[in-house]
């Protein structure tokens, strides 16, 4: 039973900004919320490898290929950090993967968009990783210890991701007319979905209330989105690209950029499985998982034999 006493004590720990650790008492809803959020985050890292992965073999220079490989590897690593953090809440990785495959668990909708040109690799690093970093920096202070530690590690490693994306965009923007056009086109296609990454407006966000009280989430969707916009608009100017928003303008009094309305109909459609690549991304993951089943089985069988030998000896 969740006695009031436990709850009060729990909230006192949260309010004092002390971390909650795996063995500490926690409300069932806190645990559920964390599992949902951390696993969604982990799945996003893993599914997020696909749009970029589709350019590894086509990267236009050896340097670009090495950087892209290292970056995608980091994403796999970040997925692993987050799966581990999630497992401390009493759920296995097998269950988490199963939830992804059955559609019970989600991943960030942004990865259902297609990376169709090399400039998209720039745009993903610059915008998608840029948006992710804004969110992740905020999450370093999240109240659950293992999640916070994973975020700190991830932020440390992510700092090069956004830079490599921006570097690709910068090179293209200063390149041939065709390259510049490629860069602008990628920005046009990735800008709005990037803004959607922060989720619905605060007024429409169903999960935010408790998440803020429990300090799982430290800042609201709109605050984080605004921070991202303010930083990115300036970076676009520096390399001579235009943000595809006619309503975008500097508000001197507030010290922020005002922006046009996000297409929430598109956001909801993509979340509900109707994005350009939802089915393909998931099918790829399922197929890799199934193709690997005999390998995992063999490794388990081998380990069991080794154990037996040790016992006999």
């Amino acid at each position: 039973m969740e006695s009031t006493n436990n709850l009060e004590k729990f909230q006192t720990i949260i309010d004092a900004d002390t971390k909650i650790e795996p063995k500490d008492w926690m409300p069932e809803d806190y645990r559920k919320h964390l599992i949902r959020q951390i696993s969604q985050h982990a799945h996003s890292e893993v599914i997020g490898m696909q749009p970029e992965g589709n350019w590894i073999t086509r990267a236009p220079s050896l340097r670009a290929k090495l950087i892209l490989l290292a970056k995608i590897q980091d994403e796999a690593g970040h997925g692993l950090y987050l799966y581990s953090a999630c497992e401390t809440l009493g759920i296995s990785r097998e269950e988490l993967i199963d939830q992804l495959h059955t559609g019970k668990a989600k991943y960030s909708s942004i990865f259902n968009y297609a990376a169709i040109t090399w400039a998209d690799i720039g745009a993903i690093g610059w915008l998608v990783d840029g948006a992710a970093i804004v969110n992740q920096i905020s999450l370093q202070r999240t109240s659950y210890g293992p999640y916070s530690r994973a975020m700190i590690r991830i932020c440390k490693e992510e700092s090069f991701h956004q830079r490599q994306g921006y570097e690709i965009m910068g090179k293209l923007a200063l390149g041939t007319p065709e390259q510049k056009e490629m860069a602008q086109d990628a920005l046009n296609r990735w800008w709005w979905p990037s803004l959607m990454m922060f989720g619905p407006h605060d007024s429409d966000s169903p999960h935010s209330g408790k998440a803020m009280t429990w300090r799982i989430k430290r800042e609201s969707n709109d605050v984080l989105r605004q921070r991202f916009i303010d930083k990115t608009v300036q970076q676009a100017e520096v390399i001579g690209l235009k943000i595809p928003d006619d309503k975008l303008k500097w508000n001197e009094a507030k010290g922020v950029y005002e922006h046009g309305e996000i297409n929430w109909e598109e956001f909801n459609q993509v979340i509900n499985g109707n994005g350009p690549l939802n089915k393909i991304r998931l099918a790829n993951h399922i197929s890799a998982h199934e193709n690997g089943a005999w390998v995992r089985e063999a490794a388990n069988a081998y380990a069991a034999k080794q154990k037996k030998e040790v016992l006999v000896a």
């Binding site: 893993v46 073999t57 086509r58 220079s61 090495l66 041939t176 790829n284 690997g292």
Partner: protein, 252 residues
Amino acid sequence: MTKQEALFSYTLRLGDNALILGHRLSEWSSKGPLLEEDIAMTNMALDLIGRADAMLKYAAQVEGKGRTEDDLAYKRGERQFLCNLIVQLPNGDFGYTIARQLIMSAFDICLYEELVKSKDETIAAISAKAVKEVKYHLKFATDWTLRLGDGTEESHQRIQKSFNDIWMYTGELFEMNEVDAILIKEGIAVDLNSLKARWKKIMTEVLLEATLTVPADTYMQTGSRKGVHTESLGYILAEMQYLQRAYPDAKW
């Protein structure tokens, strides 16, 4: 053939092998049987493409015609590539990739431990770095061969079949031509015949421990030393070189 031409060809051979094997391993991104193995496979790809980068940079320098490592990787046609056939083979299943990786890592360890002593300082330096990387690749491929060979009945059969199927591509690794003759005399290259016994010993030990059979040396494929490759290489290059070829004036 001058010594310079031989050295250019030799460094291309080493660079191309690393580049194309790295390319194949990089294709495992998002496809590994465990997420951890995804990272392991792409880690080896990074080592190999890094080595290719260094080798091709040196090749370009030896050639002295103002080309860069990227020109060599991205602007040569199929017939100008000098990588062995084995590294071009499609990945197959995880076991097939592991079998190829064991064969190549065992070969590379034999090769690079000798090339460390090369009289060519650049080759010796690249080799010193390669030895450390390859030792790890060999350990990785050995451990997985043991797991799959001595795992389940299915995994045993799968990886045995992979070794059987790939074996006809191993003879070519040890082929030599005029390039080798010139550079062995200079103390730059290694006599590949001298590596064969050690390579075979490593392979035999690992396969036997993995309860597998070492395939018989029957008919061996050949061609790469003359630039006659598998059909796969064309596809690899079509993908790899597409941007450089589609936008010849662009810098990336």
